[in-house]
């Protein structure tokens, strides 16, 4: 049984496409709707980030519902940074009640990166424990405290994986932990270093994890070598090979080169066994997503 189209696609062995929508920094539902209308049909589901980079934005739940209203399937991201286990369970119940079933459990960027570095973080639970809690609610029909839920929520549980963080040897073990905690799909950090990602996937298959979880590989279209350098130097847990920076720097039309590069990446990812889809993060360049999926031949 599947609770969302994303799950249906993935379970049916179809190559899934997800894309990211960053909610606005103010109360502008029209912004979400505009993006939603533009991106409709370009992916199976859309991630609504949860105060990304620890900046206050419209909540991922509200933005998810706006997407639903526009006929898009949302993936609601939920960080451990801002909620304790009480709020998490409450938000999950609320999300599923409103028809938001894809939930991505993540630790979240540390608040020092955002616009409220003075904030106290929560981290009552970590993403693995978050998955354990949500799975119990769904599969055992009880909240983490042990009280029965007459109508349990039906989430499709996702997690993040970063093959480019350290220690490398442990990244697959961490994925295995997430899978055993309940992750049904994982979205990875953006792949720019395909070689390292292939090595990662090798270990994933070695442990048979590709049979247990849908790996959706992250991709990012880069607009310039400056964007590449920013990712390399400023974004935690990113790996940007020098040849990519050079290639964008030398290109006469960096934007086109970035698109080409992204298409090539998608192409190589498609051929890696165990990769069941791609997740496109086009921050502030969402309008490129329809073209990307069209030219990559992965339009749903």
């Amino acid at each position: 049984m599947s609770v969302s189209m994303l799950q249906e696609m993935l379970d049916a062995g179809r190559f899934a496409v997800t894309a990211e929508i960053g909610p606005p920094k103010s109360c502008e539902p029209e912004q979400v709707r505009k993006l939603a209308r533009m991106l409709k049909g370009s992916a199976h589901a859309f991630n609504l980030t949860d105060n990304q980079a620890a900046n206050v934005r419209m909540s991922s739940l509200a933005s998810s519902v706006l997407c639903l209203q526009e006929g898009l399937e949302p993936v609601m991201q939920m960080t451990c940074r801002d909620r304790n286990r009480i709020a998490m369970q409450s938000d999950l119940l609320g999300a599923c009640a409103l028809g938001v079933h894809n939930v991505l459990c993540i630790s979240g960027d540390h608040q020092v990166f955002g616009n409220h570095p003075q904030a106290k973080n929560v981290y009552d639970v970590d993403p693995i424990q978050q998955l354990m809690i949500f799975r119990r609610m769904r599969d055992e029909g009880m909240n983490w405290g042990g009280e029965p839920l007459p109508q349990p929520p039906q989430p499709f549980l996702g997690a993040a994986a970063n093959p480019f963080a350290d220690p490398f040897e442990f990244r697959v073990a961490r994925l295995a932990k997430k899978v055993s905690a309940g992750a049904q799909f994982v979205q990875t950090q953006c792949v720019l270093d395909v070689e390292r990602f292939q090595r990662f996937m090798g270990y994933v298959r070695e442990r048979g994890l590709d049979e247990e979880v849908h790996v959706i590989a992250g991709v990012i279209p880069l607009r310039s070598h400056k964007a590449a350098l920013f990712m390399k130097n400023k974004v935690a847990g990113m790996c940007v090979p020098d040849h990519i920076v050079d290639r964008l720097r030398r290109a006469s039309d960096p934007k086109e080169e970035g698109i080409k590069l992204c298409l090539e990446t998608i192409d190589s990812l498609k051929s890696i066994p165990g990769v069941h889809g791609v997740h496109i993060t086009a921050i502030a360049w969402e309008e490129i997503v329809p073209r990307l999926v069209q030219e990559a031949g992965i339009r749903p």
Partner: protein, 230 residues
């Protein structure tokens, strides 16, 4: 030990505005070791305050008193008879015990009490323990992720761990990187595969202010009374 650092002098001066008799309290325990509030620092603060008072006509009369351990009543008896303001260079615990013992005094903090840690190098102190009340060091190669991971993660490094450093700052070691390395050295990597379930935070601050009772240490009568209520 408890790590503290001196408050900026200007903040202290502002706090003391309007005082008359000022006693600078030093402590020879933790804050002396982290060079924030020992005998020398108390003397220095006392001289500084006197000088400021003389320069600016504040009319303060200042003297230092340094005790062995400001957090135990028995050791703060030298403060008997003191009047007015006490500027505490002892930790927040010491300051409160002094205030409790001498309710008429106005006890002000001269240091910012920060954490439970250890010296790492000369003048460098690193947090080690968050006092969560439910120790799991046996699962994490003797390195506490509650205190030393910026996100207090219990199941391995997040995606921000790079080259052994935490995403929060290049000066901060990634605790989970250290744990993975340490477990590798010890041949106990199997521990990493085990998911640690959500933690019970009741023994931590989340259960409210804590009161720890060592029944064996109680006097006979109260021990009996305690056991009867258990």
């Amino acid at each position: 030990m408890i790590i503290a650092e001196r408050k900026p002098l200007t903040e202290v001066l502002e706090m003391l505005d309007g005082s008359g008799e000022i006693t600078v309290l030093g402590c020879r325990s933790c804050t002396a070791i982290c060079l924030a509030g020992g005998e020398k620092e108390a003397k220095e603060m006392s001289e500084a305050l006197s000088l400021h008072s003389e320069l600016k006509g504040k009319g303060w009369s200042v003297r230092p008193i340094t005790v062995e351990r400001a957090c135990e009543k028995e050791f703060i008896l030298p403060l008997q008879g003191v009047k007015g303001t006490v500027l505490s260079l002892a930790c927040g615990v010491g300051a409160q015990v002094v205030q409790e013992m001498f309710p008429m005094l106005q006890v002000l903090p001269g240091v910012n009490t920060s954490n439970m840690g250890a010296p790492e190098g000369i003048g460098v102190f690193v947090e080690k323990c968050a006092g969560c009340g439910d120790c799991i060091l046996h699962l994490t190669a003797g390195i506490c992720p509650i205190a030393r991971c910026a996100k207090s993660l219990l199941n391995g490094p997040c995606g921000g761990s790079q080259n052994g450093k935490c995403e929060v700052s290049p000066d901060t070691a990634c605790a989970w990187d250290q744990i993975v390395r340490s477990l590798t050295t010890q041949g106990r990597l199997d521990l990493l595969e085990r998911n640690i379930p959500p933690k019970d935070w009741r023994p931590s601050r989340s259960g409210g202010p804590r009161r720890t009772v060592n029944v064996e240490a109680m006097p006979g009568d109260s021990q009996k009374a305690w056991r009867d209520t258990e």
